[in-house]
């Protein structure tokens, strides 16, 4: 019998830097100002000096967690410019990998949110189950994070018969676990106390601030690129767009857990109906002039790539809009009026890619004092506050 012990949550990607300037009155947040740019790498500028094939790899490295969503979005854009039809089998494999990535991301999110609440057991549980799906991705692609699966004109690796069997087995396990997490997150009084009614984003506000992905869907807005503008094989696979009306962190949790279940169904259907045929087609290196927009529903929300070509082998302009930027204003709205102790949970609630409030500066309105906290100080403050209040 073998034991599996998850080792350490320390990972550079999860400690990415973003700065929030909070203004607080007693313990309530009055205003928030975000400041980005600590990890700005100028990818859009780099792209002007690389050719289309090289950019597939660069696109994958935009994000460490939803890497496939970016690579897929970029590949689709170039395929549109070339006027290519991707083989049917490749479209199904893309759907399968995209959904596996969604499961992986949502488990990661569940774990991190649990950690922000000081619920470390759930954090360990969720990350252990995330390992199951990462192993499957590793089996298909040979890599755990940047899968290198999507390419212009199809996918790079096939899913074979023995792989299908192993994936189905792991899906059965994950489904049982997802049911368990539903039970935990809807019944556990400690989780309910930390999430219900916290970080409210009303539907009207979500619409005005252009929220996307699970953040919008937890406010009752059925906004999903997979349904609105089917790409890959989403037009042929039946699925439900999960929405909740709670508008709080609890709803954001339920949306994501239900999406895990929905993704499991999508993968099962796609594996069962996987068509035969080639997985990629040959593509020319030169791309005709034109401009296209490609949209993909990444685990965190809508992902948009704008690509303009000038007839050479390098693009004229490649614009990337990742979902976190679209949700940042909504996050600021949610944080206003929130108790300082709830800030970590609310920030985790939108699943920010520039995660973990690393540097936080707090201006006390009454005292006119400036305190600078890092993420750990805030985390400690939040959990001690709840301990004092509810004695846990």
């Amino acid at each position: 019998m073998s034991f599996e012990i998850p080792f350490g949550p320390q990972h550079p990607a999860l400690e990415e830097s973003i700065n929030f300037m909070f203004e607080i009155e007693e313990e309530r947040v009055v205003s928030v100002k975000p400041r980005l740019g600590y990890v700005h790498r100028g990818i859009e500028k780099i792209a002007e000096s690389r050719n289309y094939q090289q950019l597939v790899y660069l696109s994958e490295r935009i994000c460490g967690i939803c890497s496939f969503a970016h690579a897929l979005c970029y590949s689709q854009a170039v395929e549109q410019l070339l006027g290519l039809e991707v083989p049917e089998r490749a479209r199904f494999i893309r759907t399968i990998v995209a959904e596996m990535e969604r499961i992986q991301n949502h488990y990661l999110w569940l774990g991190l949110t649990a950690k922000e609440m000081g619920f470390e057991t759930l954090f360990m549980y969720a990350w252990r189950d995330r390992e199951t799906i990462i192993r499957m991705l590793d089996m298909i692609s040979g890599k755990r994070v940047h899968y290198g699966m999507s390419t212009i004109g199809g996918v790079r690796r096939d899913i074979t018969e023995p792989m299908i069997k192993r994936i189905e087995k792991s899906l059965d396990h994950l489904e049982v676990r997802a049911e368990y997490y539903t039970k935990v997150c809807t019944k556990d009084p400690l989780i309910l106390r930390r999430t219900v009614g916290v970080g409210i984003l009303r539907p009207r506000e979500a619409r005005a601030l252009c929220a996307v992905g699970p953040t919008a869907r937890a406010s009752g807005i059925a906004r999903d690129v997979r349904a609105d503008e089917p790409y890959a094989a989403y037009g042929e696979v039946p699925f439900r767009v999960v929405t909740y009306r709670g508008c709080d962190v609890a709803s954001r949790t339920y949306v994501r857990i239900d999406e895990i279940k929905e993704s499991i169904k999508i993968i099962r259907y796609a594996l069962k109906n996987l068509p035969e045929g080639p997985i990629r087609i040959k593509v020319p290196t030169r791309v005709p002039e034109g401009e296209v927009i490609s949209r993909v529903e990444a685990p965190r929300g809508e992902n948009l790539h704008f690509l303009k070509s000038n007839g050479t082998d390098k693009p004229e302009r490649w614009k990337i809009r990742a979902p976190t930027l679209a949700n940042l204003l909504s996050l600021c709205k949610m944080l206003i009026g929130v108790n300082l102790a709830d800030v970590p949970v609310v920030i985790a609630g939108i699943d920010p890619c520039i995660a973990c409030a690393e540097r936080i500066a707090i201006v006390d309105v009454n005292m006119r004092k400036l305190k600078v906290w890092n993420g750990e100080d805030l985390w400690r403050y939040a959990n001690e506050w709840y301990q004092k209040r509810y004695g846990r």
Binding site: G37, E44, K45, C210, D228, V292, L304, R317, K319, L329
Partner: protein
Amino acid sequence: MRRSEIRRQLRIRARNIIVQNDRRFFVNIEKKDLKRVIRRLMRMKNYTHLSTITALDTGYNMEVIYHVAFTDALVSVKVQVSKEDPILPSIVEIIPGAALYEREVHDLFGIVFEGNPDLSPLLLPDDWPEDIYPLRKFWSVDKIFSKLGGRR
């Protein structure tokens, strides 16, 4: 969505509407019509949100593209703005969600959005020189490096 529907709603000439396929529409408009067009697009059926704002360098001019998403299409509204006078009206009062996109374009292209309450740097460092707009074609990577006094 159809071309005729956009033409009727926005009250612009048909030749200014380019149909790429049944889900992608490009609309060329004048600077002065921007707010009116965005407002009218928002009132159309199936409107969901403003996806993003893209800017690009076209040589003499810069082009700003507003990607407005519908459940069944994506309408991209294009506005030309000159490099000598890079000023556009802000649409923040119509769509509050545009604030960060406008700040991003202001950072990287130096386009000023009149009416946006906060155009402080979002992505670039606080001590970034004022006249360098990294995504304009004039500023190659080498030029930016030499201006900043650094090495590759």
